[in-house]
């Protein structure tokens, strides 16, 4: 039989055999997982996950509530920040005012007098 079609046709549908079919069936059956015990395990796991999820949600809600509450308290008491630019023993405003006044009065004042005035204010 050297015909290729004949070779392929003879092979068609033919099945190889399993040496010990009963033994092989037993082997397969022994490898089967227990469906009942498998279904219980994830259920137990999911209960724990559900509990943790509830606790975490409650904690998150509490934290958000606390955050909003503390922000509202801060808003009721306005914060006023005052910066003191005055240096002790020296009033910058007065000095300039004096210079300005002198210039305004057009007083006949020379450089030495102005310098003296400056020293007096310090």
């Amino acid at each position: 039989m050297n015909n290729i079609d004949e070779i392929l046709e003879r092979l068609k549908g033919a099945q190889p055999e399993i040496d010990n079919p009963d033994e092989f069936t037993d082997l397969i059956m022994s490898a089967l997982p227990d469906r009942n015990t498998e279904s219980k395990t994830p259920e137990k796991g999911s209960r724990i996950v559900k509990f943790v999820r509830i606790v975490l949600t409650a904690a998150a809600v509490l934290l958000v509530g606390l955050f909003i509450y503390t922000n509202d308290l801060d808003a009721d008491t306005p914060t006023t920040t005052q910066t003191n630019y005055q240096i002790s023993g020296f009033t910058y405003g007065d000095y300039l005012k004096n210079v300005y006044t002198i210039r305004q009065n057009k007083a006949s004042i020379n450089y030495l007098q102005l310098k003296k005035l400056n020293y007096e204010n310090h």
Partner: protein, 183 residues
Amino acid sequence: MEQLEKDILIKCREGDKEAFRLVVRQYQRMVFSLALKMLCDEEEAKDTVQDTFIRVWQNIGEYDTAKSFVTWIYTIATRLCLDRIKAKKHTAAMPEDVDALARFAADTDSQVNLENSEWVAIVRLLASRLSDKQKTVFTLCQLEGLDTDEVQRITGLDTTQIKSNLYVARQTIRKQLTELGYE
């Protein structure tokens, strides 16, 4: 599907292992045949048969009874075989495979009585130059003798793809056998 088979499958869904034993006994040779021809390795084929029935057992609740149970098992087995083929290196033909084919060709007995090792040798030689897809279609259509519709449902390929893959597979095998002196 026969009523008896339906009853057995209902029992299997309820977790009856003795009912499932009947299913295994009924279909193990069919799955083994496919796996041996696809994988060309007896031990791997047996492992695949085991994996197939474990999958069937685990997912029998999802099986649609309106569809063919055989097709469903074939689908699972084919996918598992393809996973194994992808995982392992390409199996090249051995020199002794040519002798095994010569012995088979010389045998005039109409009944095919091949040892598993001979099956492995012949299929390994025939399919050594085929791609995974061609090998799958060739095994299902030509070696297992399934019709195109069934192969379509198993592989998810359309009719044109099946026919073209089968044509290319046959041509490749024909060329290879011609080189070996067959006509």
